[in-house]
Structures are given as C-alpha cells and as structure tokens.
C-alpha cells in the first residue's frame, strides 16, 4: 500500500512537471531569438551593449547618443508607428523608458506605477506591473505637475523614486519588491521626481521642493539593501555638505569655511533650497560624479542677502564617499530661480590650438553654454546660446556673472523684460550630443518675464516664493527652439523654431538623426547635420518626455517616446489651470494660454519602426 501511494505520488509529480513545461511556455515567433542563458544582471554588462537603453541619460557621460544607424537620413521617411501602450495617467509624462534584456520599463507620473513590457513578443505585452503604496498628499507639494523622470537598472533590479519620497528597488524579472527606503517628508515640502543614477554599488537620489523652502540634498544608497551610505546637503555647515580636506574649488568665490552657513542671513539656510532633481554624470576614470543644485528659496532675492551657497552650484564629488572635490556656483545669490540641475555632458575634446581636454558642457538655465574643465572646475568658456537681459556675461576671471543692475528683482516693484524667464533658456529637458557631428542638440525655451518681489512667509509644507510673475515669448515670438551647438567652435549652427517651449529631451543617433517631441504633439526626426525635418508624426498629446532608441530581439531598430502633456509649462492642460490669471502656475500659464487649443491630456507610449 505504502509503495503504491509513493509510486503514484512520484508519477503525479512527474506528470505535473510535464504539463507545466508544455503549456506555460509562450509560443515563440520564428524571428525572435530568446536568450537561452539567464539575462545579464550587472549594469556594466548591459551598458556594453549599445543596442539597449539602460539608464535615462543613455550613458554616464549623458550624451543620449545611440550608435544604431538602421534608421537613418535615407529611410526615416518611412518610419511608422509599430505599437502603443497607455499608462492610464493623464498627467505630465517626463520619463525615459528603459530597455534592458529585451524588456521595457516605464515609470508613470504619480502614483508612479512601473510597467515591464516584453519586447520579445508582438505588441510588447505586459510582463508585470508594480503599484507602489503612496501618500496622495504628495500631489500638494509637487511644484510642477506629478512628474517622474525615469528608473535605473543595476544588479538585476529596477530602481525608481516616488513623488512621496520613496526609493524602491524591484526584481527586474518579476517585479517583486526587493527593498524600499523613505528619504524625505512631504510635510517639509519634499518630493522626489528625478531618475536615480546607479554607479557601482550605489543608487544616487536627490530631493525636489525648491519652491517649498526645503533643504536640498543628494544621497547614495546601497544598491543591495537600500540603506543610506552617504548624504550631502547643499546648504549648511561643511560637515553636512561633505566638504572636507579634498575640496579644492577653482575660484576664490567658492573657497572658505562653512560658506553654506555664512552666505545666508542667520539660520535661513535651513529653508534655503538647493535641491537636486536633475541629472548626474559620472566619469569612471576620475571616479567623480557631477551634478548641479537647484534654486535658493524664497524666489524673492531681497529676502535672502548673501551668496546663498551651495544653491545653483555645480558639484564634483567622489562617488564612493560623497566628498566634494570642487564646486562652482553659477549664480551666487540667484536672482531669477535659475536652478542649476541641467545635465553635464562629459566630453573629451580637441580644443582649437590645444591638446585633448576633459571637459563638461552644460546648456545652463541662465542662457550660457558653459565649457568647464571637469578635473578642476575651471570655466573655459561661457557663451550665450539664447537671448539674455538678466546678466551681461560671465567673468571668467572670477567666475561670477556680470549683473545687469536694471533687471534686479525688487520688492513691490515690477521689473519687466527679464530674459530668460524663471524656467530658463533650457530647463531639465536633456540635450543630446553626437560625436559624428560634434553638435550638441539643445531643446530650448525662448521666454521673458515681468517679476515683482513680494513678502514670503515660511510655513513648512507650503510654497515659499514671494513673487508675482508672468512669462511671455521672447524676441521672435517662438517660445521654443531645438538648436544645434558646435561645442568646439562654440557657436550655434542651426535651430528649428517651435511654437511652444521645447520641453522634451533629445536623442542623437549614428543614423545622423535627432529625435525630439513638441508640446503640440509632434514627434520629429531632424537631419543631424542640416536640421531639416525629415519625418514627423502627430501623437495624441503634447510631448515633454525623453525619447529612446534600441535594437529589438528581431534585430530591428526601434524609437519610442511617451506622450502626455503637463509638467510646468503644460500644467494649464494637465491641471486645468485658468489663463485669465496670468500669474497662474507660477507665471507660466500666461505664456501658454493657447496650449489647450493644440493638445489635450495623454498617457501613451508610442513605438516606431521601419516597415
């Protein structure tokens, strides 16, 4: 009897095993080759394959350049929509999808769901989705719509941030939660919107909330456990800012003890801003990360005398310890909310008459294109790439901007025609660089503003601004432009003017194409050399996200972009703001009052391929 039972049990198990093997394996299409071995888990191994898109900025240098050239200037005219996917959230989509091991990962706007799509099967069906438990009150402290700029991949995990200040790591294959860490407090006005960056065994995350008087920071978490490893504040004493014996700024302007305290009126550094919601670059040879900090709070500069360090500052830090190597403050005592969170593109350039220089290039919010020696922080050049009245140039000897006394904001007085406006000549939306053309493709804004300083009351968890503002189009009337900048010869080569601010990222490819989207819903491919529009496609909603490109398992090159207008300039649509108040949306609505005539809300991923 016992033997019989045992025997039948063994048989049943065997049959069950047979069944499982037969029925659950998906039918494969003949042209698709599945990975037979387990997929690569380390970031270094997936980075080596240029056919993927494994971090939002594409690579540590933040080039957003892909060496794929199957789609090129000759055939891009035939590009077609292949399939679409909806995140179901009608708010601004700013994220870059990731493509790792034939899976696409998308993070939506708040409540920040994560979708994994199987690229080995037609139409990219859902592999798994993850819905984080989030605090809905976070929406009340998100300055600029409920955006999220994307996830990161490393160690077999997908890591992303939620608006309510969590960093969450998921198993990339199953979507199972591996760890989560809460890093901030909405009752202090903190949120997180940036795409984390994974470097070695660390996840780098910074906070947002510069409009709420938060105290900005960047921290490194252990990729294995989510435990904080180091945290660098951007205001306050040197020990908090991880400024120690290694700190060697290039300019005397940035040298001295505890400047994060001394350059503020007493205690105001505690509500001083200097957040970090933008991009981080990494140079593996120097072992340094580069990133800039946000605006000081409140906006009305008369209320915070001093240089307000380390707001609007570029930092170079040792990635292992967080120790600052050097810093350079773009805007001491920032007058215009010119956050310095834009991407630093790391390039090794043969400059005219010189040797190879390791530089970083930045299209700064203040309208200047900076070239900075990334080993020591020396500003090699700072050339205007936009119309500027707010300053009269950058003094390369001292590093300070040359102020324009006519445009200094004052309390109770309206100062007119300050250009660029608060969102800058370029906001967070990242540029792309093609080594084939030597051009940096910059999605820019052409906006000016009227600014009246007001009293500001600090109430934790509420806005801390002190300004009445309205924006409008700068000279020419076009509110945006995709411009190509020759980084070596330091000049604009061409530009494509856009009706609305160009608020999507750009991608450059070895097919000599530049892809970007517009707020009125066009997804475009330009000739990377001439700037001619070679192809465009009208999507369902305005585009403010970051396009990506990859090689599918079928060997074909794909291009994808998320639509869904919103963000700061698109809040008039995503948040139903009323343009009869020119100051709505912190002044942006007055420049965008016609946007509702061109686009509605959206939430769609578009994937394009050649037929």
């Amino acid at each position: 009897m016992r033997t019989w039972v045992a025997c039948s049990l063994v048989l049943m198990t065997a049959f069950a095993g047979c069944n499982r093997a037969n029925s659950t394996r998906p039918k494969q299409l003949p042209y698709i080759q599945r990975y037979t071995s387990s997929p690569a888990t380390s970031l270094a191994s997936v980075l080596a394959d240029d056919g993927q898109w494994v971090m939002a900025p594409k690579d540590y240098a933040n080039t957003r350049f892909s060496s794929l050239d199957q789609i090129n200037t000759k055939n891009v005219g035939n590009l077609q929509a292949a399939w679409t996917f909806s995140t179901g959230i009608l708010r601004g989509h700013e994220a870059a999808p990731l493509i790792v091991n034939n899976t696409m990962y998308i993070v939506g706007p708040f409540p920040n769901p994560v979708f994994a799509l199987d690229l080995t099967r037609p139409g990219g069906p859902l592999k798994w989705q993850y819905k984080p438990a989030v605090i809905s009150g976070a929406k009340g402290v998100a300055c600029c719509d409920w955006v999220n700029r994307g996830a990161a991949f490393g160690d077999g995990k997908i890591v992303f941030n939620t608006l309510d200040n969590q960093t969450i790591a998921l198993d990339a294959n199953t979507g199972a939660e591996v760890w989560k860490t809460t890093l901030g407090d909405i009752n202090q006005g903190e949120t997180i919107t940036m795409a984390p960056l994974i470097v070695k065994d660390k996840v780098l995350v910074g906070n947002a909330g510069g409009e709420f008087g938060v105290r900005g920071w960047l921290q490194a978490l252990d990729l294995k456990t989510g435990k904080p490893v180091w945290k660098a504040f951007h205001t306050g004493p040197d020990t908090d800012c991880l400024i120690g014996p290694d700190f060697k700024p290039f300019y005397p302007l940035d040298a001295g003890k505890d400047l994060g305290v001394k350059t503020w009126s007493p205690e105001s550094w505690r509500q001083g801003g200097g957040t970090m919601w933008g991009w981080i670059s990494y140079d593996p040879q120097l072992n340094l990360i580069y990133y800039g900090t946000g605006n000081p709070g409140p906006w009305n500069p008369e209320l915070r005398p001093g240089d307000n360090k380390w707001t609007a500052t570029l930092f170079a830090r040792d990635v292992d310890t967080g120790a600052a190597k050097w810093a350079y403050q773009f805007q001491p005592h920032d007058n215009f909310d010119y956050d310095a969170v834009n991407e630093s593109t790391l390039l090794d350039l043969h400059l005219p008459g010189g040797q190879l220089r390791k530089v970083l290039v930045r299209a700064e919010r203040n309208g200047y294109m900076y070239m900075i020696d990334r080993a020591n922080g020396q500003v090699l050049s700072a050339d205007p790439y936009a119309f500027i009245t707010s300053t009269k140039g950058i003094d390369l000897k001292t590093g300070r901007p040359i102020e324009n006394p006519d445009k200094q904001p004052k309390s109770g007085k309206v100062i007119r025609e300050i250009c660029p406006a608060v969102p800058g000549a370029k906001d967070w939306q990242p540029s792309a660089y093609s080594p084939r053309t030597g051009l940096l493709y910059v999605p820019s804004e052409n906006l000016c503003m009227d600014f009246e300083g007001l009293e500001a009351n600090y109430i934790a968890g509420t806005p801390y601004l002190g300004a009445n503002i309205r924006y409008y189009a700068g000279p020419g009337g076009n509110r945006g432009e995709l411009l190509a900048w020759d980084v070596v010869h330091r000049k604009k080569v061409w530009g494509v003017k856009e009706r609305f601010p160009t608020y999507s990222g750009a991608v450059a490819t070895a097919g000599d194409l530049v892809f970007y989207g517009t707020m009125d819903g066009w997804f475009k491919a330009l000739d990377a050399r001439s700037g001619d529009t070679l192809w465009k496609f009208k999507t369902d909603s305005g585009i403010i996200s970051q396009p990506v490109t990859w090689r599918g398992p079928d060997g074909k090159q794909y291009v994808a972009v998320l639509t869904g207008v919103g963000g700061w300039p698109g809040a008039i649509v995503s948040g139903d703001l009323d343009p009869r108040d020119a100051g709505a949306g912190d002044g942006f609505v007055s420049a965008m009052s016609d946007l509702p005539k061109f686009t509605e809300k959206g939430s769609t991923l578009y994937v394009f391929a050649l037929p």
């Binding site: 009340g140 402290v141 948040g575 108040d581 912190d586």
Partner: protein, 176 residues
C-alpha cells in the same frame, strides 16, 4: 410711493452698513450648528431632504473679504492657487468645483484638507479667518456681491479685479 422709496433707502442704508461693518470680537461667522448635513454629492437616495444653507456673515463685509484676500496670500494659499487661476492646486476662478462651492463646502475643504493635495488647516488658523478666506475664495469666481468684493490692487495686474468678476453660471457645480 413715498413710503416705498423710504423703505428702499432704509434697506440700502442697512445693507451699506453691513458692507462697512468690522467686528472686533469675532462671533462665530457661521457654523454647522444649524444641524444640516454638508453634502458633497448631488445624489442622495430616496426623497431629497432640504439642504440647510449656511450663511457666511463675512461674505457681506468688504473688510472681511479684503482680510480674506490678505490671508489668502499670507497663508500661502496663493502659492498653489495663484490669484485664482491655480497651479499646484486647482483654479478657483472658474465654475468647476471639485469639493463644492457653498461656503460650508469651502470651509470644510480648508479645515479638513482634501486627498488630492489640499493641506488640512484645521486647528492651525482661527475659524473666523477661515470664513474670511471662504468669502474671498467665492469672490474669485464672482459668487459674492460685487459691491463688497475687492477692487483693483496695487500689485502687478495679472487678472481682473474680484469686483469685476462675473459669475459664470448660476448653476453651481458640485462634483465629487
């Protein structure tokens, strides 16, 4: 006829008097003590029961509405709702009301907060100030008498003065 004229001018004088009224000691401007239920939905099962209207005394006083306007900026309401056009929070100058347009609805929204990001100010600021803010918020969409609504202010002009704001719809929308 003469009597009618006399009566009319008496009424006008009384109204004007209230417009200029300032209270030093604040009696509860309005409250839910009237026993009514504050409904956020137009749907109710069975026979409709009459709604108890809450009268916000601040809505009749120019001083109170101006105070509401000052407090709207001072408590950083304007940081999210701007001058009525919205931003982080919804626009308040249109006729779309997520949580109801009646004074008691707006009062409760400020006190309790709302799950889409509206902070709860209950216990943080005096109740009479909340009623002043309620009166000002309603003036943004033309729901108070223009003779008591604030006129053009001294700051950068970004919208028409509250007293020039026309009510957009007599049918106030209440959407959950």
């Amino acid at each position: 006829m003469r009597n009618a004229l006399l009566l009319a001018s008496c009424l006008l004088a009384a109204a004007a008097c209230r417009r200029e009224q300032r209270e030093i000691v604040h009696s509860p401007a309005a409250s839910h003590a009237s026993g009514g239920i504050v409904r956020l939905s137009e749907l109710q099962p069975g026979q409709p029961t009459p709604e108890v209207e809450v009268r916000n005394a601040s809505e009749e006083k120019a001083y109170d509405i101006n105070e509401g306007k000052r407090l709207f900026a001072a408590y950083n309401c304007s940081g999210c709702h701007s001058h009525g056009g919205g931003g982080i929070g919804p626009a308040l100058m249109d006729n779309y009301w997520v949580y109801g347009s009646h004074p008691e609805n707006i009062h409760d929204t400020i006190v309790e907060g709302r799950p889409n990001g509206m902070p709860s100010f209950g216990g943080k600021i005096p109740d009479y100030q909340i009623w002043e803010i309620v009166a000002y918020v309603r003036s943004l969409s033309g729901l108070v008498n223009p003779t008591v609504a604030p006129s053009r202010d001294d700051h950068m002009q970004v919208k028409v003065a509250e007293q020039s704001k026309k009510e957009e719809s007599t049918e106030e929308k209440k959407k959950p």
